[in-house]
Symmetry: C2
Subunit: 299 residues, 2 copies
């Protein structure tokens, strides 16, 4: 089977269905397999997930970016989500056994083309970052389009590729390489939002909790529950079973039971195998022991 890369470009359009469709169609038309399109009107943002052979992934991403540059004007854009570009963020993600270095190479190639063909300045983030302080997307994108227009000339705000001025309508783009994120939520049988917020604070990495965990507490008012909503940014360090058991214990201490948990979107097989290793104490379990992996990966 040919090696594949996953790419999850985020575009600043979540309302005009004809633009959303045109972007997804352009990516598909370049020969990529679009496996998911999520558009959110409140955020005014869309997220496309596609897979393709590595060289083709750059073409497919460029096809989407070209439509976004033509159809989206950041000067008119309103939405709740932080953003700095029409094509806002483009991460290349290893699929199956693809090495991370391949993804870094694709990010670099994509960034060069974005500047050369669409005149959009580029910031490299994640594993593709050229400066340590740009590894975190949040730091690259802080202040959004409006702040970047003012500050792109500052010594520490200049792009990695392109001139130090934002594209007038398409802004700038963060291009990176990273492992797959896991979106994971645990629901608690209480209506007391403080319990979810307390536990979220306790486990999130930024307040000294579990490494590579982002967490927020929400109310699920219509269901009479509260939720600890998480992003696991490196499942190799902190995986689902670990946060599940820590939350279960923290809830118990507060006299609260778990209702259920939710894996949102997809997880890589390696993370699924990791849950089994952890949950039933089977440290030697390998991906190749999943029959489908053994058969399909060998094709």
């Amino acid at each position: 089977m040919a090696p594949l890369v996953e790419c999850v470009p985020n575009f600043s359009e979540g309302r005009r269905i004809e633009v959303i469709t045109a972007i997804a169609d352009a990516i598909r038309g370049a020969g990529a397999r679009v496996i998911d399109v999520q558009a959110d009107a409140a955020h005014n943002r869309m997220v496309v997930t596609f897979v393709a052979e590595p060289d083709l992934a750059v073409d497919a991403g460029m096809a989407g970016a070209a439509v976004a540059s033509e159809r989206i004007d950041l000067r008119e854009h309103r939405g709740e989500h932080p953003r700095m570009g029409a094509t806002d963020v483009v991460p290349f993600v290893p699929f199956a056994d693809l090495p991370m270095e391949v993804c870094v190479g694709l990010a670099k190639a994509f960034g060069e083309r974005l500047w050369k063909e669409l005149h959009v300045p580029v910031y490299f983030y994640g594993e593709a970052a050229t400066r340590p302080e740009r590894r975190e997307l949040e730091r690259v994108r802080r202040g959004g389009f409006e702040e970047l227009v003012e500050r792109i000339g500052d010594p520490d705000r200049g792009p990695d590729v392109g001139a130090a001025r934002v594209h007038p309508s398409a802004g700038a783009t963060a291009v990176g390489a990273r492992i797959p994120l896991i979106a994971y939520n645990v629901n608690l049988k209480t209506t007391d939002l403080r319990v979810a917020k307390d536990i979220a604070r306790m486990i999130r990495a930024s307040s000294g909790g579990l490494p590579n965990v982002k967490a927020l507490g929400f109310a699920l008012a219509d269901r009479g529950l509260v939720q600890v909503s998480m992003n696991l940014t490196d499942y190799r360090v902190t995986n689902i079973w670990k946060v599940f058991t820590v939350i279960r214990e923290a809830a118990r201490e507060r006299g609260v039971e778990l209702e259920a948990s939710e894996i949102v979107g997809t997880i890589p097989l390696a993370a699924a195998v990791g849950v089994i290793k952890d949950a039933v104490i089977e440290p030697a379990f390998r991906m190749d022991q999943v029959l489908e992996k053994k058969v399909w990966a060998a094709e």
Copy 2:
């Protein structure tokens, strides 16, 4: 991606390496993908696991059976494992989303050819059984070759395909369709074999324990542990997490801790997904949420 079937033929040869190799080569030569070959000298038996497109799987199984019929003489065969044929058992197993009915059809076609081309009488078992009492392989094979030679003429012992006489040297063959078996062991931190035997008795289906579980207690003398060794014959009914937690609780009541567990060989992705559903209370988790499955299965 073309639909595939898994086939796990068992042959009564575990000692003569040239015969073991000839059988595996014949299956491979017919175009199947051999993913595992296990030979056991004490049992004098080999188990081949291969996958192939459905029609080709019958050809591949026949190629192996033809070599076995030519090279193995049951009248000379000695070994600890129950057996009644040179080609002893041939189960067809759904791979990924292949319907069970396809496997039943393949078993029937294979059985007809085994009689027609190699003159070996056939008993259908598992989902391919034509009589309820033949669903269980153990019942079909009880008494082995030696008893079958005497009793094949009995009204309840006649084959489903072929004349009521065993092939002089190749015996008879059980051909079936079944879901994948899971071989799963849990190791306990004690040297007291009675603990493993007690727990095995408690959980095995035949003594009123968990449905679709076969279990035995063993000593792992060199490691200072004992083991509950299991076959889960229908992971859709009783999966790994269930037996793990029941054994953990039973061990706790006896003051014994678990050391680790072991999944032997492969498990289907559906069973891996099932462990996650059960362990982190994620009842809605789907196979399609495993990214590799989503991508590969769509090819």
